[in-house]
Symmetry: C2
Subunit: 206 residues, 2 copies
């Protein structure tokens, strides 16, 4: 495996390759080509070959990629051979949906703990989880060694909750709150905001 610097834009594409390969496996396919993979996800075959070449040599000229092998290698690169525990903070409609989401299984993640600050919710259940008191977030998350959080709290409290997650040693946050978080540089933060994506599309229509 090359130890060169890998551009983040390349890293960002690897999960999409892995997702498409899982889908091919479900369809019963055993091998594929960069052309076929690229057609599926709308990326050129040359780009896929170039992206993968950062990490090693995974296919053979003419015969393409053995899907189980490439899946295995991508799982290693993305560190999803292991299963990562996730803490969900906020149990509104969206937190509820995440806590009950079945799609994490076999993709490297599982929800492990759920928090809210609403006394009417604390102690109740969402999916299979008992809703924990936000006041206990720092010690509980730290003790459990959870490194990844999904944040579905209202925008006004997102920053302070995120800071508590960092104090609890969380190092990656996927936030659904539509506000930019300001956290230490070593913390990875990504956002999901459907409005941003809708506005991107409406620019082109109408």
């Amino acid at each position: 495996m090359s130890s060169n610097f890998i551009p983040d834009i390349v890293v960002a594409r690897l999960p999409r390759y892995l997702q498409a390969l899982y889908q091919m496996e479900e369809e019963g396919k055993h091998s594929t080509s960069s052309q076929e993979l690229g057609d599926r996800i709308g990326i050129s075959a040359a780009q896929i070959r170039k992206d993968l070449s950062h990490f090693g040599e995974f296919g053979k000229q003419g015969t393409g990629y053995a899907i189980p092998y490439l899946v295995d290698q991508l799982q290693i690169i993305l560190k999803v051979k292991q299963v990562w525990d996730i803490v969900v903070v906020g149990t509104g409609d969206l937190g509820h949906a995440i806590a009950r989401f079945q799609g994490f299984a076999n993709r490297g993640y599982r929800v492990a703990m759920v928090f809210d600050n609403d006394p009417r919710k604390i102690g109740g259940k969402v999916g299979q989880f008992i809703i924990q008191d936000m006041q206990n977030l720092i010690p509980m998350v730290q003790q459990a060694g959870i490194k990844i959080a999904m944040l579905t709290v209202p925008p006004a409290v997102a920053q302070s909750v995120a800071e508590n997650l960092v104090r609890a040693q969380v190092c990656a946050i996927l936030s659904y709150a539509p506000v930019p978080l300001h956290l230490p540089a070593h913390i990875k933060v990504e956002y999901i905001d459907p409005i941003i994506q809708l506005q991107h599309m409406t620019y082109y229509i109408g």
Copy 2:
């Protein structure tokens, strides 16, 4: 306004500028600079000035941007002065969360119609909406003139439902199903898949 080709990557950043400006308005601010805007969203001041320069001259050297004016101009560019109707297809946990989501208001969108194919759900309510029968999707969406869809159906049916949306004259689809859709080139498609973003982050941790 320049009629030059605008790179898509520039267009993709505009909604984030608009979001940050809304937040500044809520805080009672009246003007800002590319430096301040950039600090908020983690983009350089130079990049912001360059992006905005594709569309015109919005600020003054030394005094920066009048927020209401820049908001207004970005709303026009992104076509969100008007309110776009959205059709939501699929009323599982996630469709449910979207149909009840309060965050669309004032950002250019509103849910207008909700569909499912489950006979036990059809005719019932989700939020303020009566769940419509998927069999009526094409005529109902077409007649209502809805151009934007949010798709929260299971992956196995996402492609066929998306094709029906295209038949109904929808031209932008935001899909939560973790499968790539293959649609005519003029249809805008974006995806939301938390696993893709989680895997992107776990590459860097652990």
